[in-house]
């Protein structure tokens, strides 16, 4: 190979210049890579107002962007899981489920359970379902003046929403949307989590006794260990490969900001989740009691839209399907989406594959 140094040429560069340029670019990329891993992206930017608080829980109302008249009459309450931050529903402008629903004329409310402190270690599902959620619903009804409302529960938020719908069927819940709902744990071989926590040697009481609340790091590691190569290796290689693609980098950064924002889970709630749901499958067996009240799926009468992620490794489809035969809802539908636990709502294809279907189903039942 002949190295030619031609200072007069503006288009061609010498190999030495090429090397320098590439090193410079690599250094810049590495700096950006480091920044993306350590700094938070701007997320949850849809304008909202805080309208209610109780302990760490907060209820937000998103500022409507559609005038009263074309807006849907029935408000929508979003309930996310208790061990992650709820802003995955409002990840970034242009790619936010909340923004999408607000623009499509829904009056949207978001329940943020907050970050439990050591003093909240005794919080159980009894409290979430029978102390917090009824008060949230009462506030929502007072603010909107509507006697009816729709509720969308995702992951453990779907579990909480389902139990609420069973215990308070006359509270005005018209439409219930469940996303990747972990409800049926009869198959102990389905999904890594179920297998791990159903093992006779796995003792949630000892974990809770040791920590009070289950550390976020423990939950995060558990979730990531279900797909270790994808989460610990491929994820970062994929970022590096696409580091010069601004839109991909923005998407990755927003999602990583959410993933890194880990929170603990109230100890008593964790113990109850593992023992009463994962190990004993009480909800499906019909033996679950919250504050002495039997939770009967046959009392769930709200219109039901059950969204299942076909490639969900956290809540395998079999944990969400069984509920359809046990509820009393006349209007019920299962909707299957190709994708994973989070991807179906926050992934790049969500605005085409999932959100419009939720909008179409809910829109027809919200006036």
């Amino acid at each position: 190979m002949t190295i030619t140094m031609n200072s007069n040429s503006t288009n061609s560069t010498s190999p030495f210049e090429d090397v320098c340029r590439q090193w410079h670019q690599s250094a810049k990329n590495l700096e950006l890579f480091n920044e993306l891993l350590t700094r938070d992206a701007k997320i949850a930017q849809t304008p909202k107002q805080l309208i209610w608080t109780l302990n760490k829980a907060k209820l937000y109302r998103y500022v409507p962007q559609v005038p009263d008249h074309p807006r849907h009459r029935i408000p929508l309450l979003l309930v996310f899981a208790v061990m992650n931050r709820p802003y995955v529903l409002d990840l970034r402008p242009g790619h936010s489920f909340v923004e999408y629903m607000v623009k499509n004329g829904y009056d949207v409310y978001l329940l943020d359970w907050g970050i439990p402190g050591f003093e909240d270690r005794n919080l159980k599902y009894d409290d979430y379902v029978l102390e917090y959620l009824p008060r949230v619903v009462r506030k929502l009804k007072a603010v909107t003046g509507s006697r009816e409302f729709s509720m969308l529960g995702w992951c453990l938020g779907a579990l909480i929403s389902t139990m609420y719908a069973c215990l308070r069927p006359d509270d005005g819940l018209k439409n219930l949307i469940l996303l990747t709902a972990p409800l049926d744990f009869s198959n102990k071989e389905a999904g890594g989590f179920t297998k791990w926590v159903s093992h006779p040697s796995f003792d949630p009481d000892r974990i809770v006794e040791a920590f009070g609340n289950v550390p976020g790091e423990m939950i995060d590691t558990g979730a990531k260990m279900l797909k270790p190569v994808e989460n610990y290796v491929s994820n970062y290689i994929s970022l590096w490969e696409n580091i010069e693609d601004t839109s991909r980098v923005e998407a990755w950064h927003a999602m990583n900001t959410w993933v890194r924002d880990i929170i603990p889970m109230a100890g008593a709630g964790y113990r109850q989740l593992i023992n009463e749901f994962y190990k004993e499958n009480r909800l499906i067996e019909g033996t679950l009691e919250l504050r002495g009240e039997r939770v009967e799926l046959g009392r769930l009468r709200a219109n039901l839209f059950n969204v299942i992620a076909e490639a969900d490794h956290i809540t395998p489809p079999c944990q969400s399907e069984g509920v359809m035969d046990l509820v009393a809802s006349q209007d019920k539908e299962v909707f299957r989406v190709r994708g994973g636990h989070i991807g179906i709502m926050a992934g790049r294809g969500a605005e085409k594959s999932t959100w419009p279907h939720i909008d179409t189903w809910l829109g027809a039942r919200s006036d």
Partner: protein, 116 residues
């Protein structure tokens, strides 16, 4: 000089990892997922967790008791005192929330009566 896309880029710090991944990633990911879902991993994980908790718990308890006794001796509030206080505050908050809702209901009914 022809460009060979298979040639590792020496300027890419992840170049070697990338090549390894392209060749083996899918099967590696599948094997690891199968491994973490296996009975042996499940049992080992539970046993390791138990062993760690069994060894760390006595030390942690001793530390907590010592701290608690020291705080009590110094007439300072302990963690348990703060927890009780926080729980009481939440209960008060719930009662206030209920009262606010009842008051709103009352005012609304008063307004309706006035209009009628």
């Amino acid at each position: 000089m022809s460009e060979n896309s298979e040639t590792p880029d020496v300027f890419d710090p992840f170049g070697i990892m990338k090549n390894v991944r392209d060749a083996n990633m899918e099967s590696w990911a599948k094997a690891m997922t199968e491994f973490v879902n296996s009975d042996s991993f499940t049992a080992a994980q539970a046993e390791m967790l138990n062993a760690w908790l069994a060894t760390s718990t006595p030390f942690r308890k001793l530390l907590e008791e010592t701290l608690s006794k020291s705080m009590q001796a110094l007439k300072l509030p302990t963690t348990d005192d703060f927890v009780r206080l926080a729980e009481q505050l939440t209960n008060i908050e719930m009662r206030l929330d209920d009262m606010e809702a009842k008051l709103d209901q009352f005012l609304e009914s008063q307004q309706q009566t006035r209009y009628e």
